[in-house]
């Protein structure tokens, strides 16, 4: 497929996934703060840090931050910005995604700009964030049953899973930043409540209880292990990265690209590192370092997709074109 359009597929799904994860993040922070007395200025700052926002000048109270992260068009990390970007990407490739996907996304974009959504924000914020989460779920479902299983679909899936792996790592890292700025909160009664919220925000509470290996007093460790390494859980980092590997392998096969593929190599290396016993054991003591490494790798994998598939340089293909001409003449 056209390289530029592949890039739009990739970013389309990343932005929709991002909008969903911001909604999850806002919800989790809101919930677990209900139980504890933490100074206002410390409650919401970690959320900005993990979103990569370092120049926020507004108030640090809950309403200001929620407004900033939900509605602010100037904030590239807000839900409304992510949805706008998603819709712009979709508009460019509306003949590539299915008509039903485009219509649904366009409908939801318009809904988010409407007074109905604003009213929901004022009166039932929980439901608003739920609906935002549902946009991605719906689109994935519509795509599942309407989109051709060609490269475009794989780029879409790749973007979605890559974004999710990074976002899950970020959600897990909230606590690190919370403790960094407020050492008093590392007490154990906070722990259970905090980790429960994290799991819930990732739709992982019940799956965790069914599946995970919980040793008393090590709930945090078990939750982190679950969200990073549980291969049967579709929001875990390892699950997502394995899906990325599947997608990029399919892309490489379908596009018949003759270019060596660094992305496949990086993903294999990263997945192998996550799967080894040593990494599992170091989660307990080095969680933040592990999460940082994951987020950094997600960035570099995104870059290598760009150089392999999206930035096309004719000079790399001269031999191929000479071949094509030989066959034609």
């Amino acid at each position: 497929m056209i390289s530029r359009l592949a890039e739009h597929c990739f970013w389309l799904s990343r932005y929709i996934e991002r909008a969903e994860n911001i909604a999850r993040l806002l919800e989790v922070n809101q919930n677990w703060l209900l139980d504890f007395d933490i100074p206002v200025e410390l409650q919401w700052k970690p959320l900005l840090i993990i979103s990569g926002i370092h120049d926020y000048k507004g108030n640090l109270d809950k309403e200001s931050i929620l407004n900033f992260m939900t509605w602010d068009h100037e904030n590239p990390c807000s839900i409304v910005s992510s949805m706008t970007q998603a819709r712009e990407n979709a508009r460019v490739i509306r003949e590539i995604i299915s008509a039903e996907m485009w219509e649904r996304l366009n409908y939801n974009y318009l809904w988010l700009q409407s007074n109905t959504a604003k009213d929901l924000y004022d009166n039932n914020r929980y439901e608003l964030y739920n609906q935002i989460k549902r946009i991605n779920q719906l689109l994935q479902g519509i795509g599942e049953s309407t989109m051709l299983r060609t490269e475009a679909w794989e780029f879409y899936q790749f973007g979605r899973h890559l974004e999710r792996s990074g976002q899950t790592a970020r959600i897990l890292d909230v606590k690190y930043h919370m403790v960094q700025s407020n050492p008093d909160i590392s007490g154990s009664n906070i722990e259970i409540s905090y980790w429960t919220s994290i799991l819930k925000s990732c739709s992982g509470y019940e799956p965790f209880l069914k599946h995970a290996n919980i040793i008393e007093n090590q709930v945090g460790n078990a939750v982190a292990e679950f969200l990073i390494l549980e291969e049967s859980f579709p929001r875990s980092v390892l699950y997502c990265l394995k899906e990325c590997l599947n997608s990029v392998t399919a892309i490489s096969y379908q596009s018949k690209s003759k270019i060596s593929n660094r992305t496949i190599e990086s993903l294999k290396t990263l997945n192998a590192w996550l799967s080894n016993q040593e990494t599992r054991q170091s989660i307990k003591i080095q969680l933040h370092a592990i999460l940082t490494k994951i987020v950094d790798n997600v960035h570099s994998i995104s870059d290598s997709m760009t150089s392999t598939y999206f930035d096309f340089n004719p000079d790399d293909h001269v031999l191929e074109m000479n071949e094509i001409e030989k066959i034609n003449s």
Partner: protein, 504 residues
Amino acid sequence: MGSQTSSSNRILGIEDSSAIRQQSIFHAYKPHLNARDELIDWNGKPHPHCKTLVDSIGKLSSNEFQDKRSAADLAFVTQGITFSVYSDCRGVEKIFPFDLVPRPVEGKEWTRLDMGLKQRTKALNLFLYDVYHEQNILKDNVIPREMVESSKGFRREMIGFTPPGKQYIHIVGTDLIRNPEGEFLVLEDNCRTPSGVSYVIENRVVMKRIFPDLFKNIKVKRVEDYPQKLRDALCSVAPENSGPNPRLALLTPGPFNSAYFEHTFLAGNMGIELVMGSDLFVHNDRVYMKTTGGPKRVDVIYRRVDDEFLDPKAFRSDSMLGVPNLFNAYLKGNVTIANAIGTGVCDDKAIYLYVEDMIRYYLSEEPILKNVPTYICSKKNDLSYVLDNLEKLVVKAVNESGGYGMLMGPFSTAAQRSEFKEKIKANPRNYIAQPVVTLSACPTWTEEGLAPRHVDLRPYVVSGTDTWVLPGGLTRTALVKGSLVVNSSQGGGSKDTWVMETDV
């Protein structure tokens, strides 16, 4: 149980509507005093071919009609069938106002239009071949040489080059108007990159969704086959060296172009790639596109980019929309470009005057479709008449389209007229003038219910090795009372055009 309930509901429904039966939306409709009405005759009766249509839509009360309108608007909004107007800020989109009352065309009238359009297109294509080769029509003084050579759309670079299949104008959108006597006249030819056909198809899709029963009772010619017809036509004139399955691409200026929706629509429905200039490159005089699987050859480019922007090495060097060296690949015969480069000479509104002569000259036939009488300001006598009678005339810049750069004399202010006078005197070659034709009108929904609004008609003529005319076309409608300007960029709307399969 279930069926009983629904049938009793149905009965209730009928009783309800008869109980609160409101007057038909046509009840108070008064046709325009001076214009031909496309549905209703001077006595207030529907034309014979419109009777079933008027009876069916006439059953609706104004509330029911409003509900249908909202449903149609919603369909356009959620599908994102929108356009952006250049003067608006970037990214602001509007729906193209759509009016639910269709504009019918009698079957036998259409047969005449179909023939007339094919005749005109054939002559225009022969004219293009001639002016870029022997120039017989100039040598024989049928058209003044300086008129052609001073035309902005005339491309000297094309002289001596023959496009594949000798076809220059693969897609023509001819703007027709209907005068009070009921005769269709050609207002202008669009031989460069005519737009609007996606609305023809989408309007039909929405009409079928909103009024499914209407289509059961009235047989209307299909318009939905256009993308396949265009695809076949373009394949038929692919370069000879492109093999049995030529690869087609639609070249768009990009997502910020006002017609981007149409580009995605056509590419999607033709099953071809939608590309921007930056997706293509030329290597050894062959055109390739940049794909995830490496370079792929492109044989036919359906371009929606103007001549000047196609190739920064051959034309405007500041163009970001084009493909460097594309023109060379074209001259080498390695790619078909549709429409060909240099077809703009036909769109020149001063050249338009001579199309009837072209038909006589090349085909030895009388033109089936007539032009609107036209004064050419570069002719001395015409110029003085135009300058003295501005308030009676429509003045147009010869190379503009979309309703830009024109003066509607009868509706203009003295200041506007004197401004135009200066412009015309400064550059007479750039202007033509025509008497104001009262366009035909069609019942259209307004704040006061149905009222007559002026309409035009743009049919689309598709040519490869054969020529086919889309039965119907885009009916554009002025929405302001009395206005004769129907362009979407000037606030006009559109209607579904119904070419009747058989006449009553």
